[in-house]
């Protein structure tokens, strides 16, 4: 067997082979490595002036802050509790609305379903809302509707809808065209094509992505509060500015457990889907 499949060495054919290099010209290949190293040395050594004195001072201050953090102070648990429930509510409300808004937006952004103008508009909306970080949206909504959870909900709706719809559009574009084609061939109208030919193909992942987004929203809802968009983040920001570091630590511990729970919840649900 082995004689038949593996030809003897040294005969007519070469016995070594190497993958062609990524950059063909050796001058460019090694030149670019040298240039990259030179840039690294230059930027570390000259352009960013690392002021050792400030680093040491900072370490000192951080140590001081950590010292004042322990033990965590849970005495104002009512404030904490209200902040946390607000964050959770923000996350759930935003995820739910985002999920619903994402369906028409995602379908409109799928090139194999939507006519070109609709597709372009939908893609533009998605790209625009993803261009700005959530914090930027949060600042914007705080300016528009004022401090508080509404701004947080609106921020996370924008973020969730654009995220889920982008995923949905991608899934619809990657679906097996044959399944949809067979449904079209029965004379089904577009809405029926949607529920028979397309939904079954994309539903499990849509739900999975939505649950993932809910988990992400739990995390983000604590952050957007820092710029005043409600929730536990707002409480945290206030505690820092009042130097209540022991209360800050209590808040941080609660946030960590919340995010942890969210992660577990999301994993359990997603492993059940399919």
């Amino acid at each position: 067997m082995s004689e038949a499949t593996a030809p003897r060495r040294g005969a007519k054919y070469p016995t070594t082979w190497r993958r062609p290099p990524f950059i063909e010209n050796p001058l460019f290949r090694y030149g670019s490595v040298v240039l990259a190293l030179a840039y690294l040395v230059w930027s570390l050594g000259f352009s960013i002036e690392v002021d050792m004195a400030r680093v040491i001072q900072g370490l000192d201050r951080a140590g001081n802050m950590f010292a004042r953090m322990v033990p965590p102070d849970f005495s104002r648990w009512e404030l904490l509790y209200r902040g946390i429930t607000e964050s959770v509510l923000i996350a759930f409300a935003a995820s739910f609305v985002g999920m619903i808004v994402a369906v028409p937006l995602g379908l409109a952004a799928a090139r194999n379903l939507a006519p070109l103008p609709v597709y372009l508009v939908a893609r533009f909306i998605i790209v625009l809302s993803r261009t700005f970080h959530e914090i930027v949206w949060a600042i914007f909504f705080v300016k528009v509707v004022g401090f508080g959870p509404l701004a947080g909900v609106l921020t996370l709706i924008v973020a969730s809808a654009s995220f889920i719809s982008k995923m949905l559009a991608e899934d619809v574009e990657n679906m097996q065209p044959g399944q949809a084609e067979a449904i079209r061939a029965t004379g089904a109208s577009f809405p029926k094509l949607l529920i028979y030919g397309i939904t079954p193909q994309v539903l499990p992942r849509y739900l999975g992505v939505s649950i993932y987004r809910l988990d992400a929203n739990l995390r983000h809802s604590t952050v957007v509060g820092i710029v005043g968009a409600g929730g536990i983040g707002q409480v945290l920001a206030a505690s820092f500015s009042r130097y209540d570091y022991d209360f800050s630590l209590a808040i941080l511990l609660v946030i960590i457990s919340l995010v942890f729970l969210g992660e577990i919840f999301s994993n359990v649900i997603r492993s059940r889907l399919r």
């Binding site: 067979a182 449904i183 079209r184 061939a185 029965t186 089904a188 109208s189 529920i195 193909q201 499990p204």
Partner: protein, 279 residues
């Protein structure tokens, strides 16, 4: 029944797949379309229900000029044309029953379809067809849990649920083993004869075409080069359709082989045959 005249299809990339095809099916019979890969068989079949939009020419089915219909009219016409695919094209995450009932989608309202609440007659017909194609008791299985042959049976059931006036079949057996291929072909042909439905069917396997079709159309580079009864297929004709090759072993009717005994021999022969035909 079906009349195709001067059908031309030029794809957007400029490739001319059909050069004026004219073909009439005037009684309920099984017409096999053979020809090498790229000859335009799928294009021709898809132009009939306009899954591929013809560039010019006419398709008339029982008095309806399909090529002249608008979107709404086309949907109505598609309800009357069943289609069976090489890759089965079942909705994989749906149950067998949902797939079969989807043949009625053109007739039921949106909410009925959404709630899977089909009229009792449709449900009864679905159970009957499932029984007929040999899948009784499998209605709750998910389509992706079936074997290839079983999936194609569901595909056949879905097409028949439409109570079609015409069946379009695009290489129904190309992904199946020789024995299953023959069973599937026999099923399609039997059902078509029972119901008096004309069938347009693409197949690669010349022996299968000869065995099961009443009529054979040979396609080469988008043109019809042969059209006659399936017993008129000769080596000269095959050369005309496919090009030069030794055809002496290809032209032989596959004898009916319901018994396992003949199946082995037939299997061996079939493999060589399809090897030649695909060349």
């Amino acid at each position: 029944m079906l009349e195709i005249s001067d059908l031309v299809k030029t794809y957007p990339n400029g490739l001319k797949a059909l050069h004026g095809i004219s073909l009439a099916v005037d009684r309920p019979m099984v017409v096999a379309i053979i020809g090498s890969s790229g000859a335009g068989k799928s294009t021709l079949i898809r132009c009939v229900n306009r899954l591929v939009e013809p560039t010019s020419g006419r398709v008339v089915l029982n008095g309806t000029e399909i090529t002249a219909l608008g979107r709404h009219g086309l949907r109505k016409a598609r309800r009357r044309i069943g289609m069976i695919f090489q890759e089965y094209n079942l909705v994989e995450r749906l149950t067998v029953m949902e797939n079969v009932l989807s043949g009625r989608l053109g007739y039921v309202g949106f909410w009925r379809a959404y709630r899977r609440n089909y009229p009792p007659d449709d449900v009864a017909a679905a159970f009957e067809i499932l029984d007929r194609v040999g899948l009784e008791g499998r209605e709750n299985a998910r389509a992706d849990a079936l074997s290839g042959g079983q999936r194609q049976r569901v595909g056949i059931a879905r097409a028949l649920m439409q109570r079609p006036e015409l069946l379009l079949v695009d290489e129904p057996t190309a992904s199946l083993d020789p024995k299953t291929s023959r069973q599937i072909m026999r099923l399609i042909v039997e059902l078509a004869h029972e119901r008096g439905t004309p069938v347009l069917i693409n197949i690669h396997d010349v022996a299968l075409a000869q065995t099961f079709a009443d009529h054979i159309v040979g396609l080469r580079d988008g043109r019809i080069v042969f059209e006659d009864g399936s017993d008129r297929l000769t080596p000269a004709v095959l050369t005309e359709i496919y090009g030069e090759e030794d055809w002496s072993t290809t032209i032989r009717k596959v004898e009916e082989d319901d018994e396992a005994e003949g199946a082995e021999a037939a299997k061996g022969r079939d493999d060589t045959e399809s090897g030649v035909a695909a060349g």
